[in-house]
């Protein structure tokens, strides 16, 4: 509850930090925010190329190459946000040590601003995805706008994770390196570049891997244009609650010591 009050009081600071963080990434480049669209396009393009021509997909829910391409791209949309949030979030308390040491600000807003900045990048990626989809499918209906209801949960999920890892990383610096390794494993153990049907059954358990539900929600809304399954919504909400609880509990036990260690 204390955290909620702090969030409310520092909303302008959170917003300013997030916007400045996002804008400063593209400041001074000629293409500017276009890079926020080009980067996900290239990333998704590479994986589509590898997994469709080099390692052709078996018949399954993916279908033809363009369909498979869209399938992979849609799955990567939430991954971009989670990856950036966790990667940059894990070291944010050390990167922003000058803020930690000199300003009386609630520390949990530092991982949060990275998450929001990553979410804004994610929105650009969604726009690119819809443009690519329009190019191949020639039809679009406003169903995809429902994604905005998934974003708050996604933000809370990433925030909980980033809060947990960034705080722990202050005390044990190995954690950020460990996190990088775990991210790679997580990526290939998730139904992002693989069709769900091609993964072994134990990797598709929605209670084990939150990305099973989250990618399904993204694909349902953006690709298949249908209401996501209730199971996916429930499981991702549960994952969010657990991660958020773990993040806040750990944060509250340790934040007073953080400034002594950065």
């Amino acid at each position: 509850m204390h955290i909620l009050k702090e969030l409310l009081e520092s909303r302008f600071l959170i917003w300013t930090l997030s916007v400045y963080d996002f804008r400063s990434q593209y400041l001074g480049s000629m293409l500017g925010f276009l890079w926020a669209m080009i980067k996900p396009l290239v990333m998704a393009g590479i994986y589509v190329l590898i997994f469709s021509s080099v390692i052709p997909p078996e018949n399954g829910s993916a279908g033809s190459t363009s369909q498979f391409g869209l399938y992979v791209f849609a799955g990567m949309l939430p991954w971009f946000v989670i990856q950036e949030s966790v990667q940059r979030g894990s070291t944010v308390l050390l990167d922003q040590a000058h803020l930690v040491r000199h300003h009386n600000i609630p520390l949990h807003i530092l991982p949060l601003h990275i998450v929001i900045s990553a979410t804004v990048s994610g929105l650009y990626a969604i726009i690119v995805f819809m443009a690519v989809k329009l190019f191949f499918v020639h039809e679009i209906n406003p169903f995809f706008l429902l994604i905005v209801f998934a974003l708050p949960a996604q933000i809370l999920f990433c925030w909980g994770l980033a809060m947990l890892i960034s705080t722990a990383n202050v005390f044990i610096r190995d954690i950020s390196h460990l996190t990088m390794a775990m991210l790679t494993i997580w990526f290939f153990a998730s139904p992002i570049v693989f069709a769900v049907d091609n993964l072994p059954w134990y990797l598709t358990l929605p209670w084990l891997n939150p990305l099973v539900s989250l990618t399904a929600i993204y694909r349902d809304l953006l690709l298949f244009q249908r209401i996501p399954h209730l199971v996916d919504i429930i499981f991702f909400s549960l994952h969010t609650l657990v991660v958020l609880a773990a993040g806040t509990v750990f944060y509250q036990r340790t934040y007073k010591e953080v400034v002594d260690w950065v």
């Binding site: 520092s10 000199h102 300003h103 044990i172 036990r253």
Partner: protein, 418 residues
Amino acid sequence: MREIVDATKVQVVVKNISKSYRAYNSRASVLSSFFRRSAGDASEEKRSTALDDITFDVTEGECLGLIGRNGSGKSTLLRILAGIVSPSHGAVEMRGRISAVLDIQSGLHPRMTGRQNIFLKGALYGLRKREIKKRLDQIISFSGLGDYIDHPLNTYSTGMVIRLGFAIAMHMDFDILLMDEILSVGDIVFQRQCLGKVKSFMSQGKTIIIATHNLGDVSAICQRVIFLKSGRVQHDGKTETVLKDYWDICEREQNKIPRALHPFNPENVYGTDTKEIAIRRVDLLDGDGLQQDTFNTGEAVQVRIRFQCSRKVANPLFRVQFFRNDGLWVHGTNTSRASIDLGELEGDGEIILHYEKMNLLEGDYYITVGIWPDEYRSSFTDIAYDCHQWSYVIHMKSRREDGGGIAFSPFSWHLGGK
């Protein structure tokens, strides 16, 4: 004690606060200790103390200065008052809105413009958007940046960044202002402007706590000063009294030779010494012939040199020199200057240089002892029988009224008419 002070006017209450840090190498055990804390067995690990049992009150409208050497705990104390660092023990109560200006440059975004940075830094100080908008014009005009306000910060000079940071910091809303060593930044004109701003806060009845090394600032604006030494309150009182005490201690420390710099194995730096006579031992004695290493200014000091001749030596020259810790040659003498003919020396012996009054002032001084063939060869060819360069240390103590510097001469003051 609390009843004596009018409770409504006390704005800052600091009660027995201490701060200690875990030793760096105990890092690995930190995480587990968070979960053990409730059991209460955290006391065994190694800790270093930054603040030790600090207690004081500040009343509304008071301007308090914090002084002390580097590492005395000023910044830690300010950061605890600002609520950034939590004390290990004790409690702090701040009654009113705090503005903590601990580092005016931190948080500024180098790639954003001055104007954007005003919003960012304002938000970091806890302001809302409309509060910042209200102050925007004042801040820009105080900073004197003019059109540069819309240029990115990385095109600014260091001074411009500091001016912007200070301008933002000086336009926040607060009852209590905490400042860490930031008044003496920028050029002289800007420094005056800043000092003026702080003085206007004082006339508005704001409470100010300021940590600084600039004693001029302290005496210009503070009525009260706390002198911190190694994390403890050494002196808390009126500005003049505490500054005098602080100055006194600083003066004493400045002429000290750190233990680590005492060369305890004397060595002849002149490689060409001939060793016909070797120095066996050098001792410092007081007037009664007792061995000492610390003397009061004006006391008798004897330098006793024990030597050993491996063969007969005709009238060698004994020399003793005193040097300050920075290498300044303070005093020196030798037997030739004093026109002493020692005749022919052989075997073991000792010679004593006797000072009736040692008039060196407070500080540590190196002593060089040498035995040379004669004065000319010692100054031109650097050939010594034996020489212990900067090998002994004498500690001098003096009273404040003896004066400052290195040399004492008896004196008195006389006020005359025109």
